[in-house]
Assembly symmetry: C2
Homo-oligomer: 292 residues x 2
């Protein structure tokens, strides 16, 4: 097959949820805007819905006939884009499987393993190479540089440089800048999660990403913001892998965040720097600890 229709399937599933809430659907362009797909895809969705007798569709009239049933949805594993699948397989191999630094990575073998063509694997590896974990030998294989202590130290060194600078710009933002409102919402979520930490500590990872990304964004520097992708992917897979003491670690990080947020609000550069450094230091220690 030339192209997976995951965009269609995913949009179809999301459209089913919309359908559950109304008795008729809006115009094709409007649906497209809502679901973030083109009209071509919308029309394919409507056609499929008609087939399933979920609605009648005649030009503008889209009348809902019945509520969607669980079997109307496409299974979740069919809605993941190929690049997501490749990313997950690859990260599992290099993080979980005993992947030694220096190991060779073979495009063909990886592709066979995942059950996909080589082109997609190749493109993934090229994209992934900017994270500094693999390196290409032209006309030959890739080399795994490995998720080592050095990697973590180099990553955190740059992260700290960037975040200190971003935090300083954040504190200097005009009071009417929308970032302050985002910060309010994020702070409120911190309190919520801390209030029910035993049950909700797992939500930290996502909140952490949101918070730090907000800080980095205020640098208004594409290189700084883009770099945060590396942090995100490393921490994302890392949290999945290393779960020891997650509750305590997250509770502590939440407290540090609150301190950091208060410092940002004070707009006092020295205080911002101190709070930021304190949090980054403990984030680095957590990461290093989990490496060996």
């Amino acid at each position: 097959m030339a192209k997976q229709n995951t965009v269609f399937k995913d949009a179809f599933n999301r459209c089913l949820k919309l359908l559950a809430e109304t008795s008729s659907l809006p115009s094709e362009p409007e649906l497209g805007a809502t679901l973030g797909v083109s009209r071509t895809t919308i029309r394919a969705i409507l056609t499929r819905m008609e087939e399933l007798q979920l609605l009648t569709w005649d030009k503008r009239a889209k009348v809902v006939l019945r509520q969607p049933k669980p079997e109307d949805y496409y299974p979740a594993e069919e809605t993941d884009s190929l690049s997501d699948i490749i990313e997950r397989s690859f990260m599992r191999r290099i993080l979980a499987g005993g992947a030694e630094p220096g190991m060779q990575i073979n495009e063909l073998e990886l592709a066979r393993d995942i059950g996909t063509g080589t082109t997609s694997v190749r493109e993934f590896l090229i994209r992934f190479s900017r994270f500094g974990l693999i390196e290409k030998r032209p006309n030959s294989h890739w080399i795994l540089k490995g998720f080592t202590r050095e990697f973590a130290l180099e990553l955190t060194e740059v992260r700290e440089m960037f975040e200190l600078r971003s935090a300083a710009s954040f504190a200097a933002l005009a009071p009417e800048h929308p970032a302050w409102a985002d910060l309010d919402r994020i702070e409120a979520l911190h309190h919520e999660i801390l209030g029910d930490i035993d049950n909700r500590y797992k939500e930290f990872s996502e909140l952490d990403e949101r918070f730090h990304l907000l800080v980095h964004t205020s640098s208004s520097n594409r290189f700084i913001v883009d770099f945060y992708d590396i942090i995100t992917i490393v921490f994302h897979y890392h949290y999945q892998w290393n779960k020891t003491n997650a509750r305590e670690r997250n509770a502590r990080a939440l407290e540090e965040h609150l301190d950091y947020i208060a410092a940002l609000r004070s707009r006092d550069p020295a205080r911002v720097e101190a709070a930021c450094r304190r949090h980054l230091k403990s984030a680095r220690e957590t990461l290093l600890q989990s490496i060996q």
Copy 2:
């Protein structure tokens, strides 16, 4: 054709130069190591040389029959790898041609224009995207973000952060570290070029890259070193494009480098920082000036 044999042609040309200097060639593995290619390619080269009656080849005996003539060489344009060709075409389009920020980039059109397949163009764009000049809309086109003033400012901001830190580490290197010897050679070249600036000012660009890369390398941080690629490519194409006052600009930069080098030698952090800042400031001004 499935794959261009540019590796063969380029290695063949380089092997001709080796051949001009001796009466017989070394073993296949040794030749391979010298030219940086596999034995398969070496054997293809030897076969071709036999065909051209440049040598007789029987197992270990490779006797040179005659000196290579100019027509024995493959033309230079056939030895460039496809990705280099694509890079050049692309940079010409976006730097020289009236490429407005926000413009759409079309893989198919670009491929037709360059006379190549879409796969190669696509892979180039993915690799190139880390330079922050283009951005992908999934399932759709790329957007040119443009070589704008903001781009230059964001680039130099990060560059300055990284270089200040690298310069500080450089000054702290042990005296026996090989980087000091590299620095000596680079400094000597500075004096040579300055001594004949009217004729040799064009050599600055390459020397500049070598010097700054040496400094960045001493950070021992892959992200900092990798980032220097972006600087390199931007300045590389930029110098080709903007040549006004090149002689004066380069002379001034060479003087600043010498000052910077002396500061590194002094190992005095304050002096290093001052010299580094001074040079980076003028480098930034030069870049910004040439943008509009």
